[in-house]
């Protein structure tokens, strides 16, 4: 019951944020210098044509009214029409969503698989050689551009070793899996430095708490203390840390998709930028923000399910 109340409260909090997101995305198109009607008409521009298009696009209305129209369409899943393709933005986004979701999930999965053993090792062998080595990862990783990391992985694992395809998403499930490994790894490695640092710190905190001392005093083996007792509590904070950084991970997909020519929504956005197709850029930006909001909601709900203290607060 408490949990249900928590979820409801969390959902209510979302409403102003979603309004804000829609407003910011709406304003994004408004800060573009120049008249969109002139851009659209290109070389065929005439005064009558511009006026007619203004009326058609609703640009002759005051700004607040334009926003309400935008919001109304949004609630019906209408993100506008692409300038470039004779197609609605929402259907284009929908077509390109699958590779992006694959990428985000693979990236998050790899990030956890790489981070947890490193952090556990570092925390349980504190100040040892391994710990000191692992502690340099965040220092080096902080300034590592995700796209450059991807290019280096392509160079080493794809061009030199020939183990993975260098670009594209392939056809069929097996090829999808093969194609997503390098981009997923790139995304994960871009995030691992931050995750290792946080998880190591929280693992050390947990290892110093009383119940761990008790467990050790009971004569449990080191392995049992770490995996049976400590990791379970440290996992809660790693869920939160992952949730906080998921926005960064999702944002990095744009660049990673470009490196690997993966036709997700980030790729769609960059192609649209090249074609100066403003509605697509606007639509994809909005979808990305909504993705982050949903993932955050999901991590908060998981957090609350794992840790009763959260929902009681």
């Amino acid at each position: 019951m408490k949990y249900l109340l928590y979820v409801v409260r969390r959902l209510v909090q979302l409403i102003p944020v979603l309004f804000g997101i829609s407003l910011l995305v709406f304003l994004l198109l408004k800060i573009v210098p120049g008249d969109p009607a002139v851009t659209l008409l290109g070389s065929h521009v005439t005064d009558e044509g511009v006026a007619a298009l203004h009326q058609q696009l609703g640009l002759d209305h005051p700004l607040w009214q334009q926003y309400l129209t935008f919001l109304g369409k949004l609630l019906h899943g209408d993100l506008g029409e692409s300038y470039q393709y004779q197609s609605s933005v929402s259907s284009l986004v929908f077509q390109n969503l699958v590779p992006t979701i694959w990428l985000v999930v693979t990236g998050a999965l790899f990030a956890v698989i790489i981070t947890v053993p490193l952090a556990v090792w570092a925390a349980s062998h504190r100040n040892g050689f391994g710990d000191n080595t692992i502690r340099t990862i965040p220092l080096i990783g902080l300034g590592m551009p995700a796209f450059w990391l991807g290019i280096m992985l392509v160079l080493l694992l794809s061009l030199k070793a020939g183990a993975f395809p260098a670009s594209g998403f392939g056809d069929g499930f097996a090829n999808h899996v093969k194609s997503i490994i390098l981009p997923g790894l790139t995304l994960a490695l871009a995030l691992v430095p931050i995750l290792v640092r946080s998880l190591r710190a929280s693992m050390i905190d947990v290892l110093q708490s009383d119940y761990i001392t008790t467990a050790k005093a009971k004569g449990l083996t080191g392995r049992r203390v770490i995996f049976g007792h400590a990791l379970r509590n440290a996992a809660i904070s790693s869920v939160t840390v992952l949730g906080v950084n998921i926005a960064y991970l999702i944002g990095s997909t744009v660049v990673v998709e470009r490196v690997f020519a993966l036709n997700g929504i980030g790729y769609l956005m960059l192609t649209a930028i090249f074609n100066r197709d403003f509605p697509i850029v606007q639509g994809v930006t909005l979808v990305f923000a909504v993705m982050v909001v949903l993932v955050n909601l999901f991590t908060d709900m998981t957090h609350a399910a794992l840790d009763p203290r959260v929902r009681l607060a």
């Binding site: 220092l139 902080l142 300034g143 551009p145 450059w148 999702i250 944002g251 956005m269 850029v281 923000a289």
Partner: protein, 285 residues
């Protein structure tokens, strides 16, 4: 009595810590100084013009006499482009964090001190901005305003202030309950004076520490925009566009895409060390 000794002991420990060398801080500052010096002294370190093409000597391998790091596909000296690129990327990286720092700190002070509806409104705006993935919003804003450094400053400001605001707000919430803040309030000082003369010096440190990693993040954003063709317009050298140019020759001239990336990583390392050193020097983060 115990409290006094405990305090004495911790003061003593702090003195010991201060006497010890702060290795990360010294190493980070030294490295950073070297990088900045190399960028400033670029014309002294290389006599090549970074945008001068020389198709006869194109794609020379590193170590070629006269071209220490080789030349790119258009015969431009890689070392020279790297050094002049550092000028652009470092300058924009450092300058771009100034306005988010100021705006975020001021709004954080206001939000934390006054609370109430003002705090609510500011925090909701923060929630909205953090909902957008960093790169996505930066790319979208730069695209909307048109590629170039001016747009980068605007985009970084719009996206970057929230982190400072959150940090400073958190610090203010703690600081305003402390004696000096209560004393300042009780003595009837004007609010702006309490905020900027008494609170600010105490709460700004965490923001300064964060700004070190923020500079790295900004340089990363700039390099990424350069890679996507949205950064500094060509032919001005920039590490990001160097990587994207080099990517086409990955099979034959792998070092063209590799070298500028290493430069970014080293710059990031220097600033990360400074940040770590500051944390060690001033505690908690």
């Amino acid at each position: 009595m115990t409290a006094v000794t405990a305090q004495g002991a911790s003061v003593e420990r702090m003195r010991v810590r201060r006497r010890q060398r702060n290795v990360p801080l010294v190493a980070g500052l030294t490295l950073l100084l070297l990088i900045v010096l190399a960028a400033i002294c670029a014309p002294l370190l290389t006599h090549w013009d970074p945008i001068q093409q020389d198709l006869v000597n194109a794609r020379a391998t590193p170590g070629t006499p006269g071209h220490l790091l080789g030349t790119d596909a258009l015969g431009r000296d890689v070392l020279s482009r790297l050094l002049y690129g550092a000028r652009v990327d470092l300058r924009v990286g450092f300058l771009a964090v100034i306005s988010p720092f100021i705006i975020g700190t001021v709004l954080g002070l206001i939000s934390g001190w006054f609370g109430g509806w003002l705090d609510m409104v500011i925090m909701r705006i923060v929630d909205v901005v953090v909902a957008f993935p960093f790169f996505v919003l930066v790319i979208a804003i730069v695209f909307a305003l048109g590629a170039g450094t001016g747009s980068v400053y605007v985009a970084i400001t719009v996206v970057g202030w929230v982190a400072y605001c959150r940090i400073v707000r958190g610090e203010v919430l703690v600081a305003k309950e402390q004696e000096y803040a209560l004393a300042a309030r009780a003595s009837g000082l004007p609010t702006w004076r309490i905020l900027f003369r008494h609170l600010l010096p105490n709460v700004v440190l965490q923001a300064v520490i964060y700004s070190m990693s923020d500079i790295v993040l900004t340089i990363l954003a700039l390099v990424t925009l350069g890679y996507l063709g949205l950064g500094v317009p060509p032919p001005t050298p920039d590490w990001g566009s160097m990587i994207s140019d080099g990517q086409q020759f990955l099979l034959t001239q792998w070092y063209l895409a590799t070298i500028p990336g290493v430069a970014v990583v080293i710059t990031g390392l220097a600033l990360a060390l400074v940040a770590d050193g500051l944390v060690e020097r001033f505690g908690r983060r």
